[in-house]
Subunit: 240 residues, 2 copies
């Protein structure tokens, strides 16, 4: 899964605006990491990146420092930087935090949402519906993430929202890893649960929001765990 001979990410004649370089590198790399375009654990070469983006290594490094701060990338001093590996031994920490953030952000959204928030969340839920109908797995994963991130924003607590987005992103990477195709049933369950969640938020029913968030989190954790278990069974059968 290496990136070779890739077209440069800037129009050849164009001079990039001062200060936009780091942002562009940061955004592109973040997407590619969460996409699994860049495999977990794979090395990142500063020189190649600087050629690819047509800028010097200095802004590339600043982007990598930012990514390292978010845990998307790990820097091995004096050696190199790698895409953050997926930390399987500590997945339970991840599930615990993810579940709590589902609950907390959904509760807060029910308490604090404005009508403008409702419109934005509804739009994302509609997008999710379309993705399910189109059976577009990647779009489903992405829109699902944005749906919950928007709910967190409506909850109006930047500490929770920030942690939750980080967890949702990591979850996106896990889902990508195991899901090239869904069975038909699961997405429709999520669709229904989202609908109930949105109703609870709209009615500002905090306890109902908490209940459905909890159930939704359990559903998703189960899904990921099942995927991983299935995968491990396959590995266990490899001839050695």
């Amino acid at each position: 899964m290496s990136v070779e001979e890739q077209a440069p990410d800037h129009l050849p004649g164009t001079k990039r605006k001062r200060g936009k370089g780091v942002g562009a590198v940061y955004d592109t790399l973040k997407h590619e990491i969460l996409d699994l375009t860049l495999a977990p654990g794979s090395p990142i070469d500063e020189v190649k990146l600087s050629e690819r983006f047509g800028i010097s290594r200095t802004p590339i490094r600043e982007a990598l420092v930012k990514l390292a701060g978010e845990g998307l990338v790990v820097t091995l001093p004096n050696r190199f930087t790698i895409v953050a590996p997926i930390d399987f031994p500590n997945l339970s920490q991840f599930f615990d935090a993810l579940s709590l953030m589902y609950r907390v952000t959904t509760r807060l959204a029910a308490a604090n949402r404005t009508s403008a928030d409702l419109v934005r969340i509804r739009a994302l839920q509609d997008g999710y519906t379309r993705a399910v109908e189109a059976m577009d797995v990647h779009e489903m994963i992405e829109v699902n993430r944005n749906f919950h991130a928007e709910i967190a924003r409506a909850g109006n607590n930047r500490y929770y929202a920030e942690l939750f987005e980080r967890l949702l992103d990591e979850g996106r990477r896990l889902l990508r890893l195991y899901y090239s195709s869904y069975n038909d049933k699961l997405p429709r369950i999520y669709l229904q649960e989202h609908e109930v969640m949105l109703a609870a938020i709209e009615q500002q029913d905090v306890e109902a929001a908490d209940r459905i968030a909890r159930a939704h989190a359990e559903q998703i954790v189960r899904q990921i765990q099942a995927s991983i278990a299935a995968d491990h069974r396959i590995n266990a059968n490899i001839s050695l």
Copy 2:
């Protein structure tokens, strides 16, 4: 509260080891920000820093990017970087997250602590006792932070631990801002509560840990709020 004519932070004859520059700048600035040695909102000059530390601007900038990632510093593009202002309008977000993290980390510590964890936490509690006896306010604030951070570590969830440390640091800044001296009563209440908390963790009583964490959080939030209210009253009496 400006820093002028400060002695350089490296021994004049010494060459700093490659790769240690950013870390040194990062650590020093972080301390000074949380200390309030650097006032919230005050500008940070890259050139002055590079002279002070005896290194070029490149590693200085990387340190600033890291600090910005943690919200300790705010970068105004093409202009300058300032020490993160204290976000008074949104303090309730902070209190909400802080309280939840107190509870969650203490619960987890009760569930997961090893005996080695207990030793480390006990050592910090002893340090706190000494600070109270010495009436050393700054030491009390610092050790208190480390006490709870260590409990979070024992809880063994890096997502919670990381967010909690960030919140504790921000709290440290708030306490520093308002506390040059304590009244005698409060620190001893904290001391007792810490004792109860440690006992619950030792006995692995999750529900008791939760109860005392909740009470402790409320206590601290009340303290900070009272300090701010008092301060605002003073400001309200200024003649205009």
